[in-house]
């Protein structure tokens, strides 16, 4: 263990708190690599490797990282679209009880499903072209017990108005709508069962710049009105900064840093976060960015390096970095980082 600045700081972000809507503890998701005639398991792709974090009720947590870092796998595990290999996911239900999403059976999960919904990345691939808007937005309600058609029509109309679409469009098919409008339909579908946790996986990355702002505004507005909690998975750091209260950074299946958004952007504590920040091209020709070049490639999660996974690319790496994996610990209140040298390094973030 490395030296702690203060005894009151936590060594792991999994201490329970009444504000937490979701606590993820030591979540792991391995995909086996099988070879040969008997399909023997010869190794594992550690897509999510011992990840712990929490989400407070009513906040937006951003999950960022490069492709293949496991951010989508982690979000799918939370929704139990994937069954995690190990770990706990404690969800505080509407009734105030705690449920471990990792352990529940499909039948036990069913009553909880309406409380957790998803907004997808691709508005062209996530809507069935042969279903009308009424069917798309109304189906989750039907499945969850609203069998009266008239009641569903009223609720769908209300939802469409909520996301900025005209209720008269209810009988149209998705092909009649633009990318931004389709994304609104996807949002209406997610909200149709009054969820508390919404996982948004890259919800604006497939949209045009002029439409992106409309959807971001809508997400912020809906959060205020319905007290939603978002897990916002994205790679665009400008968008993440705009919409998230806190941000968690992933690298090769592990969390490397988690902090309040502005603190993370202004004063990152992990060299990988700092490198990510410096790589963001700023839309102002008078500010030159991209001064820190990150060398090499992202390692494969099937065969990660020893010690800290980032050490082969890290300009600050010392001997211990290649030997011991650093703990994900709290360095200042609510600022968690997994780096042996976090206390001594002075990294620059993005100039304000």
């Amino acid at each position: 263990m490395t030296n702690h600045p203060s005894a009151s700081l936590r060594t792991s972000p999994i201490a329970p708190s009444p504000h937490h809507l979701l606590e993820v503890k030591n979540l792991k998701k391995y995909f086996p690599i099988r070879k040969g005639f008997f399909r023997k398991t010869v190794g594992n792709v550690r897509a999510v490797d011992d990840v712990s974090f929490f989400i407070n009720e009513g906040e937006t947590l951003g999950l960022v990282g490069e492709s293949g870092c496991g951010k989508t796998t982690a979000s799918r595990c939370i929704l139990r679209a994937l069954v995690p290999t190990a770990g706990e996911m404690i969800f505080r239900t509407k009734e105030g009880a705690s449920a471990d999403l990792a352990k529940l059976s499909r039948a036990e999960l069913r009553p909880l499903r309406p409380q957790m919904q998803m907004i997808f990345q691709d508005p062209y691939g996530s809507l069935n072209p042969r279903m009308t808007l009424f069917d798309i937005v109304g189906e989750p309600m039907y499945v969850n017990g609203v069998k009266n058609r008239k009641e569903r029509v009223e609720r769908v109309a209300e939802l469409l108005r909520l996301v900025g679409l005209r209720p008269e469009y209810m009988q149209r098919y998705p092909h009649a709508f633009s990318g931004g409008q389709r994304q609104r339909i996807g949002i209406a579908r997610a909200l149709s069962v009054s969820p508390r946790l919404v996982v948004a996986d890259e919800p604006v990355s497939a949209l045009d710049v002029s439409v992106q702002a409309q959807i971001l505004n809508l997400l912020l507005d809906l959060q205020k009105r319905m007290n939603l909690t978002y897990l916002f998975v994205a790679h665009n750091l400008s968008v993440v900064r705009h919409i998230c209260d806190r941000v968690a950074v992933m690298y090769v299946g592990k969390l490397v840093e988690m902090a309040n958004t502005l603190e993370l952007y202004a004063a990152p504590k992990h060299p990988y976060t700092a490198a990510l920040m410096s790589a963001v091209p700023v839309a102002d020709p008078r500010i030159k960015t991209g001064n820190v070049e990150l060398k090499g490639e992202v390692p494969s999660p099937a065969n990660p390096p020893s010690g800290c996974y980032f050490h082969p690319r890290c300009e600050f790496a010392v001997e211990i970095c290649s030997k011991d994996a650093p703990l994900f610990r709290e360095i200042t209140p609510d600022h968690f980082v997994a780096c042996h040298r976090a206390d001594e390094l002075r990294l620059s973030g993005i100039a304000q």
Binding site: E66, Q181, V209, S210, A213, R241, P281, V282, A283, D284
Partner: protein, 344 residues
Amino acid sequence: MTNTPLLSVHDLKTYFMMDEGVVKAVDGVSFDVRAGQIFGIVGESGCGKSVTMKAVLRIVEPPGKIVGGEILWRHQARQNGSSDAHVVDLVKFDANSKEMRDIRGAEIALIPQEPMASFSPVHTVGDQIIEAVLLHQDVSKREARNIALQMFKDVGIPIPEQRLDEYSWQLSGGLRQRAIIAMALSCNPRLLIADEPTTAVDVTTQAQVLRLLRRLQEQRNAAIIFITHDLGVIAQMASYVMVMYLGLVMEQGSVDEIFHAPGHPYTQALLRSIPTITMMPRVTLPTISGSIPHPFNKPRGCPFHPRCGKAVAGKCDERTPALKPVGEKQLVSCFLYHDAEVSS
């Protein structure tokens, strides 16, 4: 000599003759690109930025067709080391003519958007680059391989000898992007067209690729046309910027003018609507109302007028403004600044 543009496009029109009607993908676009310049083209989907570049390379697929305008290219004959330059109009050539094939790939090269789709999966990347070199240069196969190897070294591919003999699917996203850049540079082009070269890669790889392109441009003094929808990338890369919307040029100017003194309401609205790294988070972003119209129902007059806050009824919805100078280098097509309209 340095003042004559390398590429000069005048009133280019490229239409797609579909069964449902005519899509005017590029409808009267003019611009000049000079040697050593990084010329950025920004625009959202359907603005015609990629079709413009396909027209320059004469690779517009049917039912698309260049129906008007000229693409003037300062051609440099390579034979016998002579350097007599003369201007040719690429529109006049047949797309598959010898003249066009000599220019395409050799003088004007393309870095395509999708590196995975651009390489053949059944040939090694080395063989594909060697093929391009043999096609355009009078060298032996061994010399061609050395050229390809040198290119791989130039773009910073580790263990280049081994990588040359690998297939595109064996390379990571970043390496594949570097390999495609190596291929584009293998014949020493004077103009490099980069069509969204970094949209498919992560931000750290993007930073590597942008740095590489900037370095190569400085070393070789080639011009780069950089197409993207990412305003951040444009701000960091380009020296001169053209903003397009629905097949027309809205505005052109130096990168500083476009970002700090945008003239056209579309450019202004676009810049306001992106969340930046320096603004207050979680505030409501100013948006552009509505969405991009379908190319079949393009609005009459200025294509942006239905979404424009400053549109004048009876003017902007009737007549199409022409692109006219408003500053030293800045050109804007908007009636707020002048009264010139496109003659039809």
